[in-house]
Symmetry: D2
Subunit: 389 residues, 4 copies
Amino acid sequence: MMAEIGVGLVGYKFMGRTHSNAYRQLPRFFDVDPAPRMTAICGRDEAGVRDAANTLGWESYETDYRRLIDRDDIGLVDVSTPGNTHRDVVIAALEAGKHVICEKPLANTLDEAKEMLAAARDAGTVNTVCFNYRRAPAVQLAKKLIDEGRLGTIRHWRSTYLQDFIMDPQFPLIWRLQKELAGSGALGDIAAHSVDLARFLVGDVSEVVGMMETFIKERPLEEAGAGGGLSASGGVETGEVTVDDAAAFLARFENGAIGTFEATRFAAGRRNQNGFEINGSKGSVAFDMERMNELDVFFVDDDADVQGFRTVNVTEPGHPYVGAWWPPGHIIGYEHTFVHTMKDLMDGIKAGKSPAPTFEDAYRVQAVLDAVERSAEGGGWTRPEVGGI
Amino acid sequence: MMAEIGVGLVGYKFMGRTHSNAYRQLPRFFDVDPAPRMTAICGRDEAGVRDAANTLGWESYETDYRRLIDRDDIGLVDVSTPGNTHRDVVIAALEAGKHVICEKPLANTLDEAKEMLAAARDAGTVNTVCFNYRRAPAVQLAKKLIDEGRLGTIRHWRSTYLQDFIMDPQFPLIWRLQKELAGSGALGDIAAHSVDLARFLVGDVSEVVGMMETFIKERPLEEAGAGGGLSASGGVETGEVTVDDAAAFLARFENGAIGTFEATRFAAGRRNQNGFEINGSKGSVAFDMERMNELDVFFVDDDADVQGFRTVNVTEPGHPYVGAWWPPGHIIGYEHTFVHTMKDLMDGIKAGKSPAPTFEDAYRVQAVLDAVERSAEGGGWTRPEVGGI
Amino acid sequence: MMAEIGVGLVGYKFMGRTHSNAYRQLPRFFDVDPAPRMTAICGRDEAGVRDAANTLGWESYETDYRRLIDRDDIGLVDVSTPGNTHRDVVIAALEAGKHVICEKPLANTLDEAKEMLAAARDAGTVNTVCFNYRRAPAVQLAKKLIDEGRLGTIRHWRSTYLQDFIMDPQFPLIWRLQKELAGSGALGDIAAHSVDLARFLVGDVSEVVGMMETFIKERPLEEAGAGGGLSASGGVETGEVTVDDAAAFLARFENGAIGTFEATRFAAGRRNQNGFEINGSKGSVAFDMERMNELDVFFVDDDADVQGFRTVNVTEPGHPYVGAWWPPGHIIGYEHTFVHTMKDLMDGIKAGKSPAPTFEDAYRVQAVLDAVERSAEGGGWTRPEVGGI
Amino acid sequence: MMAEIGVGLVGYKFMGRTHSNAYRQLPRFFDVDPAPRMTAICGRDEAGVRDAANTLGWESYETDYRRLIDRDDIGLVDVSTPGNTHRDVVIAALEAGKHVICEKPLANTLDEAKEMLAAARDAGTVNTVCFNYRRAPAVQLAKKLIDEGRLGTIRHWRSTYLQDFIMDPQFPLIWRLQKELAGSGALGDIAAHSVDLARFLVGDVSEVVGMMETFIKERPLEEAGAGGGLSASGGVETGEVTVDDAAAFLARFENGAIGTFEATRFAAGRRNQNGFEINGSKGSVAFDMERMNELDVFFVDDDADVQGFRTVNVTEPGHPYVGAWWPPGHIIGYEHTFVHTMKDLMDGIKAGKSPAPTFEDAYRVQAVLDAVERSAEGGGWTRPEVGGI
């Protein structure tokens, strides 16, 4: 009989839905031990969380994360709320001796992240951060090629993460556009993924120089007040956008590779173009999340007359994770990256070993983003603060 | 409180898995009434079906389809076994007053299909056939463009369904390669999908001329006997491949359009390339299941200097089905087409109206395939037998 | 000192321009012996041909092809006029002992083609037909891979030649739409290229079954008469379209491969999509003339985890022809295929050996097209008439 | 009768070939007045230049550029030699009252460029710099869309220029790898093109921050000495690479747009991938020189259900330049960009107006590159020196 671990999920919006789906699907496609049990979901609004429990398939719900954490039938706490709440929930869970998976970014500030990392080390339980794109089979294949030396010495990292969902100046001032809630804008939300992928595939970043830009500086408030959203003067009430619409930076890696990163929410026509290219001395790979089942691969040593980027459909039984799903050529989607994340988390819990990206990995990502912010303010090359961790 | 309908699924292999997943996922993402209840799964091998029930999430299991059909808690029978068994199970279920969804092809012969169609009409319950590719959002978008007249008069259908999984001559003689079990080879297995898509998007086929080919005529038996799979002479035991490896045909549609169809399991490098292109007087669309989230669309009336095929990422909230899943640019996969199929089935059950493709649609598909087979034997243009249905 | 051969070009419209360019460019990029000398161009309209001689760079002009052929300074006659004139000019040139290059199709009827083939054999001079697409470097690379056995046994040929330039019903009744001038429509004009490519790459066709369709059966006359283009009743004068707008056929090759062919001028958005795919037991290739510098190549024996179609940019020094042009990655265009054709023609003249496709090759192409036409009329599988040639 | 202008071309290697071809082809496809007359080519090595004159089609040759410039039959001097020689030849030509076209980069240093700009202004003749990629029809189409406001306010420029031809450590120390001859490496050779395109399409750059990297710091000498290329110790003689293998920089444009640029010769598999993407408030365009006949175009205002990047095949009669060549869908190549450059140069000479990019434009490009170099050394954001020109 398979062992189970009770999961308590904090948060029930977008990420709550992706994580719930992952726990639900995981044991249907993978042999896992323990299997996740969807014990309780938590949110402050009782009506909302009750509905979510029902729709998403949770056995019970809580409206206070502390009660959730106190429950004995919860062994794993999953934190899927906005970044400004991560610190408190995560530390409480760790102190209660729970395993923890936290959505990215680990925290909104480097200081918070450091505190959380310390707590995780003290707790000694399993911790991980949900940078889900690592678990696209094509990304894992890229990692395998690099680890096996098939791309040779890595020289270049080149990533873009392009979206366009806030281009309309009338798009409201949602929480993602407010620094006190989101920490930063395109940088923390999407460039964070690129930094995690870069660290996973190339290695640690030693210094960066960057810029950040806010194209639309004032936006309508999201929820108009009792006055119908009109200000005293009769206009629509607006507020200041306090995060970046776009960010770009150059990087040097510790192993000598160099990199470029760009993230924006103003690339018309690019819905979720999360792409990268890596060039090594023996080959290259290129990836785009909008065609996430494909990896473009080039080898310098292919016969001279037939060299070219191969479009590998990463759906073969031998490819990472994907043999558990459908036959070759039958593609999977965005949500599957979360299922794979939970698969590795269950294996980690079994083994007593935190699966990467751990809190330390996420701290290092955060330190890169922090260095970019400091560089964007101050103007020069800046080193991530990773001393003493 | 949402109503439920008990589902009884016959078959637990590849299609059993896709259908189980669909029932499981459906109420998590769509408001459905009734919701499917995963009441029982059925298969002849008790150990196998018991495991399947557990892994796939069914409440109980049966080893005899007649017992399944007899159960009062089953309102919908889902037939996901190989084609040679469809007739008996389907007719029994219909006679028991159940709603029925049947995997494609409806039957292995046109005569069986006709019998099943008659039984469905007599039963008056809801019937449908699982040609799942219709329910890719991009295919539905193509349908919408055509129905709204945005492609004008349709002139051309051009489809290929290319696979390569049996190219190795040592690949064994599985059931799909035996006429008595599978009915036909590439024709019935994959060209059937193309014919369903063509009927859905362009209309009925009036005549065809075709060819069929078997490149590897003898293969090792799948399960070697007691003698270790060696024949008396010491060689590996082999058997005759009695279906087509590849089929191709030309077609005329009743509305004046013309079409080409090709299906093969010998297209090296094409894992599951199920594609089509449609050209009308005002525009064109092109689709490939390996990039199923995209539809290429061309309009004759676009400004002259910027005419070109648009790669539409069919993941917007307004696109068919897909708003129920993830934000724009976050792609879905193969399995979702089955969820969408079950969504429409539940709506059909509610409304008392069989969702297309109905048994009649599937009969008409079968009639086209039958005409291709007859043409391939006899050599000339051949009309599908659809009179008197 | 390099030898020269005087060229006499008959025709100065579209093909006259492409051939003139080829003779002009050839010695600038390739070492050829003899080099072509642009001696004289010929056309019936004196003003037109005089202008063409000047613009295209010919030393002199003639208004009667017989005078051109009589000239001693002409060693090679190039026939680039519409198909209905080929027979007379070509046979006269051959009888005068000239080398001959003729535009495709060789003739408008199989009988004429047979006569021309006989004349070529009697003459003993060098003859060739300008199926220029063979000389795209990517097509030559495909040929090389096949000849070297790198694709294994060929199973499938799949070609489309898609255009859209006559979709507007107001597009006039140009000569290409009149059977007595053009012989046939999409079939002879563009499917002819596909048949030549198929013979080049796969081999001879043993039988075909086909269909032809004319979507717009009546069109405005190209040049309105003295009456201002209005008929007696005041409407625009129109005439009947006597050729096919689209043609499609299935084929069996002598070596056991099977093929599909389609050609149309009604594929909205496809300007000149001349593409094919070939599947063999060890690999596949795919080509599209709109991206003519690329060949997609797949090998069954590539490492299992990195199998995929390679997009080979066929611009490397070792690739056919292309080393004579620019560095890798610097692409060439449509016109270069004609330069390559003339390169091989000059080599053939030097060697006294007709370069493929010879008149015999072109006759065999014509016989396939003729069989398609007969099949489209009569309805069944039809064999090309190649006996006794 | 068409007027002619005598051209004197200095340099007969790679760029000498592309320019010669352009002069040869220009009057065959475009009505130009004056037409270029290929009067004389110039190079120091008499045997080499004599051969080149013959092969490339020049009427005469010179071995001293001063003699070339002195000739009365030369009205236009074309400088196609490496960058370290530009200043002397260009200034001499300008002082002799000639029109001048100079290959990019204008000079190896900003000081030289400033001197040349001053000389051009004093001369008052027509001057231009051959940034040929501007004249790809697809790039001109992008420019047209921007100028007509169809992309709205420009927010993002994103360019890569990726090559891989020096990845092998045994690739010799050619002149392009020596700072005293080439000025810089990837930066001046290829990023220069990206900067020209960015200025053309987006506008002037106000500040940059960049990095440069040399991966292979020592290489075999190109021409081994008398000692057989072996050093005293018996090894192969090597020398230091004094230019960058790769360069990357961030930029702010004066109009508020932001940009990223990267150029490298170490991107395995990218032969000549010169690409950019521009995002505006109303749309986007993307271009890649390896598919130079295509422009990807997105419009925010397209109907919601069919938004997507259009692949525009820029070969229509109404597209820039391309109507002079072949019918729609018949692509052109790299060399045609030079023909278009010479077309505009002839028009400029007729009109007495220097066609962009003028020496001033090229100076401004140079100033950006110079700022990148200074930033790469010093570490911070740096402004191009364009004051007082």
